[in-house]
Amino acid sequence: MSAPPTKDLAAGAARGRRGGGLFRAAWRHGRTRVGVALTGLIVLIAVVGPFVAPYTPTEFVARPFETGVDGTVFGGDNRGRDVLTRFLWGGWTLLILAGASAGLGVLAGTVVGVIAGYLRGWVDEVLMRVNDMLLAFPQLIAALLVMSIIGPRTWLIVAVIAVSHTPRVARVIREATRAVVEQDYVKAAEAIGLPRWRIMAVEILPNVTGPLLVELGLRLTYSIGVVAVLGFLGMGLQPPTADWGLMINENRQGMIVQPWAVVMPVAAIAILTIGANLITDGLSRAAIGIDRGVGR
């Protein structure tokens, strides 16, 4: 029995927790690993797919909905294009659109949330009431509305989804910020007269990364869903682009004779969503654990 080794142990553990401590803690949950494996698989297909695809996505290789054609694995789609090729090509658009809209939405939401939470007063009121108005629109309905008025454009898909994420992220980050603002180190920075933007960027932001990462994961999951649904409803990417959501829509009439053209993109989207969800879940559990001081 002696204290020094205890101290060293604690210090060692603490050192290990630094630099991606949240990821490390999340990795200990089995669900996170499963999530990473599933997500990794789909991302791999989407990224490597276009390079290994046997044909180009618009090449006709079979008759519509024909299966068992020589030189194809899963047959042809509604126009007779190779299903495997279109599947391999159709993922990266979804990933980029979902990633970009989630990233932009979380970025904007974080800025709004930190500013509202730190400055309070009328700035907080204005930002949060605008937020409430945006929150009143259901995500998908708002997206469909804007698309049907302006027409389906790629940048618009990203913008609409990002805007619909912003108020939701802002709410969470604002609450996290308000807890941090009460801490004396923020007061200490004020006491030496540090500019407000620096206090927000240097003192507050690094201390809300826990909820921030969880939000990012969550918003990514939602974005995947919304982008896929928009594609399915014909409001997303337009033919002849190879896109998983679009593929499901185009091929659903022939689902009985040519199930692959629907099953493959559906399965990919499902696996991706479940994987991203599992990672988010692991992250949020780890964040809660860290906040409560367990799992150190």
Binding site: M1, A3, L9, A11, D184, Y185, A189
Partner: protein, 527 residues
Amino acid sequence: MTETTETVLSVEGLTVIGRPSDVTIVGDVSLNVRRGEILGLVGESGSGKTTVGLALLAHRKRATEITGGVVEVAGRDLAALDERGVRALRGRAVAYIPQSPASALNPALRLRVQLCEALHDDALSAAEVDARVREVLREVALPDDDAFLGRYPHQLSGGQQQRVAIAMAFVGRPDVIVMDEPTTGLDVTTQAHVLATVRRMTREYGTAGIYISHDMAVVAELADAIAVMYRGEVVEHGPTGEVLASPRHDYTRTLLAAVPRMRTDVPDRERDGDLLRIEGVSAGYGRTPVLEGIDLTVARGECTALVGESGSGKTTLSRTVAGLHRGAVGDLWFDGAPLALNGRRRTVEQRRRVQYVFQNPYEALNPRKRVRDLVLGPYRHLVGRPDDPDRVVAEALERAALPASYADRFPEQLSGGERQRVCIARAVATGPDLLVCDEITSALDVSVQAEIVALLRGLQDEGMALLFVTHNIALVSNIAQRVAVLERGRIVEYGPVGRVMSEPSHEYTRALLADTPDFAPEGAAAD
């Protein structure tokens, strides 16, 4: 008064280890307490005293396990009890008074509900329960009328909350009562009341008390016997008088020496021109006035102490000086020039020369920054980019009595005392003339407090003026030259420490002095 010599609590070889690391948290602890007696369990943070206290309730913290030893309460072995037996035991055979009454009382429940809940005895009728609850409230000197029982915890003061917690503990007439630093958050006047209540109740009920504390002065006043814990082991155990008079273990001697002694012989010091002048400052929160018409000066190189109970406005005053409090009016003068009440309107030079150290070192350091960046942050902003940042950090750490190697650590790798030293290093790095210290030792152990006070005295010798806020009047006599006593936002007494301590003119000051535990062990009387 129950006069028996029956041993009601006996602990033999209690061992608690951590899981899964197998670190021994408490090793081979043996204690005995008789009816009507109080045992003071003394030690610094991390010495395992709370772990021992919880083990007496057959409770353990997360990831710990009781691996050895026998705990007997009134002849029953706790280890032999199942879950149901433990539930029956808690509250009736063993009761617990937690450290923070504010968090121990359920804010959503009225006092009546909480007190009746504590007396979970099915044999009693509702009328009997009610009568018992009222009886125990009278005993802790609280009102027993329906209006009081209908209140919520937030409608009570801190002292009242703690007395409710005591009432909850005693309502079931326990054999043993475990008190985990119940007066830590209270000011001296309230502390004196609570201690007197605890003393009287244990005597009247014939309850064996375990009083856990890091403050030797409190324990010396209250306990019949003292057990000193150090690194998970009891290093000294004996009657209070004996332990105080002739401590056997080195650690006990350190603890005794760390208690600030009330000194009345503080010599007056030549005053060397005003550095800070506060004129007619009033402040408040919303419409509630907290400070009214404060006049105060701090001379160069002088330490002025602000003393008062919680709620007296001393923290508000110190924050006003630091430019952190919104809604203050009045005039501040610093080194002959006006000092804006709003910190943002001050010149960079003024901000550099007035530095602030916060009460709670656990909240005052950004957990995402290394010590090096924490110390350099204010320096870069107020002084400029240093030519040799490493030297700046090393010098600041050295002035705060920390090794330069600490620069690479994160706050969570430091103890409470080390954190507070980093806060001081951060403040002194910019070379201030006035250091505002807001109860900077109240979150720390007494032994660490002594080190911090020695450090501050050293800084003062280098010419720094201090505005030292505290509720501990004994500490004042050890560091300050002048003292201002605050009561409800007004300064009721202000003068040289020697005079205020020896001939206080205001009755509030006299009450404060009388309520401070008088600590002068015979063995240490020599110094």
